[in-house]
Symmetry: C2
Subunit: 93 residues, 2 copies
């Protein structure tokens, strides 16, 4: 499965700032960091399930948001990068 993960973590509290760091490190274990709070990459269903569970243990569902887009085949998704990061992650998935 091809996964795109985007998150918005409330950093008004110390716990929130800690959660942000944890989420970043966690997602870097599974996916490729392509923009501030955006990751993408290929995962098996089991890996995706495991990552989601670990993320759920970190975030505060009342003030944080994580959205996953998944596609069974990366060929069904086109990607375009404008501006920074254009060279490194341009147009190939």
């Amino acid at each position: 499965m091809y996964i795109i993960a985007v998150y918005d973590i409330n950093t008004e509290t110390r716990e929130g700032r800690r959660a942000l760091n944890k989420i970043f490190k966690l997602m870097k274990k599974y996916l490729i960091h392509i923009q501030k709070s955006v990751f993408e990459g290929e995962l098996t269903k089991a890996q995706f399930q495991k990552m989601k569970l670990e993320v759920m243990q970190i975030i505060d569902p009342d003030c944080d948001s994580v959205i996953y887009f998944s596609s069974r085949d990366s060929r069904w998704l086109d990607k375009e990068v404008h501006g920074l990061g254009k060279d490194t992650t341009d147009n190939f998935i």
Copy 2:
């Protein structure tokens, strides 16, 4: 086409903060705002082309980043929301 747009605008300068507001307003004309700097929605090719051109006129490609994921058919994409926004935009595309 189903579009997911994510952006990271450098707000260290006044121009950058202005660009951020302009990008937000612009994308709201075309897409649905689902998270801090994340939009999604259905566009025709022509609408998508037009939006991208307008965005390019606003961002500074040397310090801002906009990434578009597009899928010809929204059914090829699953979406999961964890935490905030779970009720409003959950699981349907």
